[in-house]
C-alpha cells in the first residue's frame, strides 16, 4: 500500500476538523475522497501534503511512518497536490513554473534556462499536453494551469497525486482531458487521490472510494459495490442534531421576486420569490453560485438578464447603495472583509448604513446615535464594554450581531444571510437564529445561504437548492439531508438513471 492513514486527528482551536481519519491508497489506483462541505476532506489532504500537521494518528508512506512538516518535504518524498485554486506564479512561463524552486543551475548561480525549456517541452510532448513551454501561465485557462501543476508533479517524480475538485471549473472537453491524463498517470503506477462531488465523474474515473463525515471515515471500499443512494447516505448520515426549532408563520405579501436572473458564468436563469414572514434556505455545494446570487441581488455584480422586484416594484439594482435604498440587506459570508469596519467603534458600525437617519443637514446627531447604539446592543445582547469599543475586538458571534443590527437600524425588509453562522459557536448560532426569527416576525423576509444542511432543516420554511449556477430544486423545510444532497450534488435530470 502506497499511503495509509490511521486515526488521524486535527483540531483548530476549539473546532475538531478530524477525529478519526482513515484512508488507504494503492499505487496505480484512483481513490475517491467524498464527503459534505466541512467533513474534513481538505484538512486530511493538507496533512498528507505537509501543509498541516496532524495532532494525532499515524501516517504510513510506502510502509514507513512519515510526518511531513512542510509541502516541500512532502514533495521530496513524492507527494504532490493539484490545487483547486492555482498556486502558480502567473507572470512566469510554463517551464519556469514547472521548475520553480528547483531550477537547473549553472555555475555562479545562473539559471540554465535553455535546459529547463528543453526538459519541460520534452515532458509536455511525452504526455501530449496542449501546452507550450514558453507560454505565460497567466494566459492559461484553469485547465491549462492544472496541467502545469501536473507537469510539476511528474517532473518531481511524484508517486502520489492529490486532486482537489479538479473539474469544478472546467468545461466538459477539459474534464475529459483531465480524466485521460489521470488514467495515464495511474497506468504508470502513480496513485491518485481524487476529491469530487460529481457523481457522473465518480463512475468514470474512480476505483475505490472513502467517505468522510464530521471528521470521521465512515466508509471505505470498492466503488462498484455502492449505489448512489448508499453513497449519499454515507455522506450525510442519519442523525440530525437539532439545536433549534421554530414555528413557521403564515407567509404574507411578496417582498422579493427574482425572475430569470442570469449572470454568466455563475448564474443561469434563477427564479424564486420571498414572502414576508418567510425564512427560505439556500443549499448547495461550495461553488454552486449561492454567494454570487446574493451579490447579484444586492447590486454588487451586475446581472446579464432577468428582473428583480422588491416589495412589488421592479427595480434595477446597480449598486449596493441602490439595494440598500430599496430595503435589501446583505449579511456577507466574509464578515471581517465586507461586513464590518473592525477598527471603528461598534456605534459607528451600527449606524453606517443609516447615517441620513442620524443626521440633519449633513451634521450628525451624536445623541441620537448614542441612543440607537445603546438600544440595539441591548436588543441583540451584543456583549461589549460600551458602544465605543472597537468592533474588531468582539467575538465572532457578537461581530455577526453587529452586522445584523446595522440592517435593523436601517429598517431593511429583505435580508440575504450568506453563511450567517460560519465561525461562530453553538450558543451564538442559536442567538443568530433567534434574531432571524424575530426579523421575520417583524414582517421581514430572509434568504439564508448555508452549507450546513442541518441548520437549514432547523430554520428554513422552504429550501432552494443550487447546483452549478442553476436552481435545481425546491424542497419543503421538513425535508431530509439526503433529499437536499441529491439536488445539490448530482445532476438529477440526466445522470441519475445511468448511475443507479
Amino acid at each position: 500500500m502506497l499511503l495509509q492513514l490511521k486515526g488521524i486527528q486535527k483540531r483548530f482551536g476549539g473546532v475538531v476538523a478530524l477525529r478519526d481519519g482513515n484512508l488507504g491508497v494503492n499505487a496505480g489506483e484512483v481513490h475517491l475522497l467524498m464527503g459534505e462541505n466541512g467533513a474534513g476532506k481538505s484538512t486530511l489532504m493538507k496533512i498528507v501534503a505537509g501543509m498541516q500537521m496532524a495532532d494525532g494518528g499515524e501516517m504510513l508512506w510506502k510502509g514507513q511512518p512519515a510526518r511531513f512538516r512542510n509541502p516541500s518535504e512532502a514533495a521530496r518524498n513524492g507527494i504532490a497536490m493539484v490545487h483547486q485554486e492555482s498556486l502558480l506564479a502567473p507572470h512566469l512561463s510554463v517551464a519556469e513554473n514547472i521548475f520553480l524552486g528547483r531550477e537547473e543551475r549553472l555555475p555562479l548561480g545562473w539559471v540554465n534556462r535553455s535546459k529547463m525549456v528543453r526538459e519541460a517541452a520534452k515532458l509536455i510532448e511525452e504526455h501530449r499536453f496542449p501546452l507550450q513551454a514558453h507560454w505565460r501561465v497567466e494566459k492559461l485557462s484553469p485547465a491549462g494551469k492544472q496541467l502545469v501543476e501536473i507537469c510539476r508533479a511528474i517532473q518531481q517524480g511524484s508517486s502520489l497525486l492529490i486532486f482537489d475538485e479538479p473539474t469544478s471549473s472546467l468545461s466538459e472537453a477539459e474534464t475529459k482531458e483531465v480524466f485521460r491524463i489521470v488514467k495515464a498517470l495511474c497506468a504508470r503506477g502513480i496513485g491518485v487521490i481524487y476529491i469530487t462531488h460529481r457523481l457522473e465523474e465518480l463512475r468514470v474515473i474512480g476505483d475505490r472510494v472513502t467517505v468522510l463525515r464530521d471528521g470521521q471515515t465512515v466508509h471505505s471500499g470498492p466503488l462498484g459495490d455502492l449505489t448512489t443512494q448508499q453513497l449519499i447516505h454515507h455522506m450525510v448520515g442519519r442523525e440530525v442534531t437539532a439545536i433549534y426549532q421554530r414555528d413557521p408563520l403564515p407567509p404574507g405579501e411578496e417582498l422579493l421576486r427574482v425572475h430569470n436572473v442570469t449572470r454568466a458564468p455563475a448564474l443561469h436563469d434563477i427564479s424564486f420569490t420571498l414572502r414576508s414572514g418567510e425564512i427560505v434556505g439556500m443549499a448547495g455545494l461550495v461553488g454552486a453560485g449561492r454567494t454570487e446570487l446574493c451579490r447579484a441581488i444586492f447590486g454588487v455584480d451586475p446581472i446579464d438578464s432577468g428582473q428583480i422586484w422588491i416589495e412589488g416594484k421592479q427595480v434595477k439594482v446597480r449598486s449596493p447603495r441602490e439595494a440598500v435604498r430599496a430595503g435589501v440587506a446583505l449579511i456577507p459570508e466574509d464578515r471581517q472583509k465586507t461586513g464590518l469596519a473592525t477598527a471603528l467603534p461598534i456605534a459607528y458600525n451600527l449606524t453606517m448604513a443609516s447615517l441620513p437617519r442620524v443626521s440633519r443637514f449633513g451634521f450628525l446627531r451624536l445623541s441620537t446615535e448614542r441612543s440607537i447604539a445603546g438600544e440595539y446592543t441591548k436588543k441583540l445582547r451584543i456583549k461589549a464594554d460600551s458602544p465605543k469599543q472597537r468592533a474588531g475586538r468582539l467575538s465572532g458571534g457578537n461581530q455577526q450581531k453587529v452586522v445584523i443590527a446595522k440592517w435593523l437600524v436601517r429598517g431593511a425588509r429583505v435580508f440575504l444571510f450568506d453563511e450567517p453562522t460560519r465561525g461562530i459557536d453553538v450558543g451564538a448560532k442559536v442567538e443568530v437564529f433567534e434574531v432571524m426569527d424575530s426579523l421575520v416576525r417583524g414582517g421581514a423576509a430572509i434568504l439564508m445561504v448555508s452549507s450546513e444542511m442541518s441548520e437549514l432543516l432547523q430554520v428554513a420554511d422552504r429550501i432552494l437548492v443550487m447546483r452549478q449556477g442553476r436552481l435545481t430544486g425546491e424542497l419543503p423545510g421538513h425535508t431530509t439531508q439526503e433529499q437536499i444532497m441529491r439536488y445539490a450534488a448530482f445532476d438529477m435530470t440526466t445522470t441519475e438513471e445511468r448511475a443507479e
Binding site: P320, T338, L340, A341, Y348, A353, S359
Partner: protein, 307 residues
Amino acid sequence: MIQRLLPFFTLIALFIILAIASPNFLTSTNLSSVVRQTAVINIMALGMTLIIISGGIDLSVGSILALGGLIGATAMEKKWGIPAGIAVGLLIGTACGFANGLMITSLRINPFIVTLGTMGIFRGLALIFSNGLPVHDIPPSFSYLGEGTLLGVPFVLWILLFCAVLMHILLEHTRLGRYAFSIGSNPDAAFYAGVPVRFDTIAVYSIAGLLTGLAGMIEASRLMTGQPTGGQGYELQAIAAVVIGGGSLRGGEGSVLGTLVGAFIMGLLSNGSDLLGTNPYWQQVIIGAVIILAVSVDELRKRRMSS
C-alpha cells in the same frame, strides 16, 4: 492612553527643553516665526488628515500649492484685486483636488499612483503657465495674509485655528467625516453599507485641495511671490505631520489635534536646531528619526490593544 498622548508630551517636552536651552526661544518674534513657518504645512496637513483617514494619500499637494499660489498671484498682478486673487487660488486648489478624486474613483487607480502623476502634471502646468518665472507684482497689502498680526498673534494662527475647528467638526460631527472614517477603515464594508464611496472620495480630495490652495496663497503672501517651483517636498512634511499625530496610512485613523501636534513638533525641531546652531543637515536626520519613532510607538500601542 499614555502612549496615545505621547505626541503631546513630546511637544511639551520639546517646548520646555528649548525654553531652557535657548534664551531666544521664548520671545514673541521667535514664536510668531515658528507659527508662521508651520502654518502653511499645518493647513495642508489638515486636508491630508482627511485624505489619510479615508484611506488615501495625496503626493500632489506641494504642486497644488505652487499652482494655486502662482495663479492667484497672477490674478492680482492682473489687477483683479486681492479678494479675487485669493478666491482664484482657492478655486485652483479645489479644482486640482477634484481632479485627483475624480481620477482615483473613475480610473480605479491607487491614489498613490494618481497623485504621483498629478504631482508632475500640476507642477508642469505651473511652469508652463508662468514660463518658469516667478510672479512679483503683487499689491503690498496682500502681505497681511501671511505676515500680519491680529490681537497680538500672527494672523495665520487665526486662519489655522479656524480651519482646524472646521476640520474637527467635519470629521467628528458630519456625515461626510464619518463616511471618510468608514471608507478608510473598510472600503468594502462601506460600499456594502450603501455609503456613497465615489462621491465622498471626490469630496475628500476636493476639500484637501481647497485647504492646499489656501496654504498656497499664504505662502505667496509670505514670500510676496507666486513661485512655480514652490512647495517642493511639502507633501511629505504634511504626511509626516499626520502620521506623527497618530494617523494611519492604512486609513480609518487620525485626528485634527494629533496633526496639529505633529506639525508643531516638526516646526519646533527645525526652529530649535536653528536656535541651537545645529548643522542644518542634521535637522533632516532628526526629523526623519522622529517620524519613524512616532509611528513605531503607535504601532506598538495598536498591537498591544488588539491582543
